[in-house]
């Protein structure tokens, strides 16, 4: 269940992953670090966000594993998006 008060993972990407000077800059909602991302990485995070909102993040993790696994650093960012939903739905659980 997505929290009714805060931004959803999709909202977060919309607001805090702007394209600045040709690169996407993602604000990690967990650590508050910023990360430069390629367009492909943003695409993966959008897929992750959609799966979190639809309560199928576990299945998404399986899909990523089948597709060859996570590139360095991206899984942590995808899992950080799960902190935007309430405690009943945790990453990978």
């Amino acid at each position: 269940m997505v929290s009714p008060t805060g931004p959803t993972p999709g909202d977060w990407l919309q607001r805090y992953c702007p394209l600045i000077d040709g690169q996407f800059v993602f604000l990690n909602p967990l650590s508050w670090e910023t990360h430069l991302l390629t367009e492909s990485a943003v695409l993966v995070l959008r897929e992750a966000a959609a799966s979190i909102e639809e309560n199928r993040f576990d299945a998404f993790l399986d899909e990523v594993a089948e597709a060859g696994g996570w590139p360095p650093g991206l899984e942590f960012l995808a899992r950080s998006l799960t902190t935007l939903v309430d405690g009943e739905q945790e990453a990978g659980q």
Partner: protein, 190 residues
């Protein structure tokens, strides 16, 4: 047939995901998150609003600060002065103000102080002349407008439409994106 189509779609999605994963790149920059978050805080005002409407973007008040409240929009102080215009041959005195970003600026337009009977009006009559300040002095506040970096770009009523480059902003937002903003003539409140 339907199963075959679904299977095809799933396979296409897998290929897309595989390609995206392979081309993904992440570079960690560090803790500049507050600045990034704030880039959007001025933009957000344009989508979410919440600032006073144009009927409330000028307020005449004396000290102390009357704007401290739930909201913390940025306002610029204006001095209310005595002006006169000649209407039908008769000099008519009125209270007016000149909305300026820089208090040292000259040759700025003169607006009337609104009353219950009369809204703010731009005075352009050739007979317009300044008499001087009131005693005791009168002051008002006009809502300030900013660009998305937090630089002030205008004040009410010279600026009334909000768009990119001209957006009201809050103290908290400005503190994040433009901590060096000159706040000498500003005040924050609802």
């Amino acid at each position: 047939m339907r199963d075959a189509q679904q299977s095809n779609s799933v396979e296409q999605r897998r290929k897309l995901l595989k390609g995206a994963l392979a081309a993904s790149g992440v570079v960690t920059m560090g803790y500049s998150g507050s600045a990034l978050a704030s880039i959007n805080c001025v933009e957000q005002v344009r989508t979410e609003g919440g600032f006073p409407g144009t009927d409330f973007q000028f307020r005449e008040t004396d000290e102390p600060d009357p704007f401290v409240g739930e909201d913390d929009w940025a306002w610029v102080k204006v001095e209310i002065l005595k002006f006169t215009v000649t209407l039908n041959g008769t000099p008519t005195e009125f209270a007016g103000f000149q909305p300026v970003i820089d208090p040292a600026a000259v040759a700025t337009p003169v607006y009337t102080v609104p009353t219950a009977a009369s809204p703010i009006m731009l005075v352009t009559d050739a007979s317009l002349s300044l008499i001087g300040p009131y005693d005791p002095p009168r002051h008002g506040w006009v809502l300030a407008y900013f660009d998305d970096t937090g630089a002030i770009t205008g004040v009410f009523p010279t600026t009334t439409t909000f768009e990119e480059g001209f957006t009201p902003a809050t103290d908290r937002c400005l503190a994040s994106i433009n901590p060096g903003l000159d706040r000498t003539n500003m005040l924050f409140g609802g």
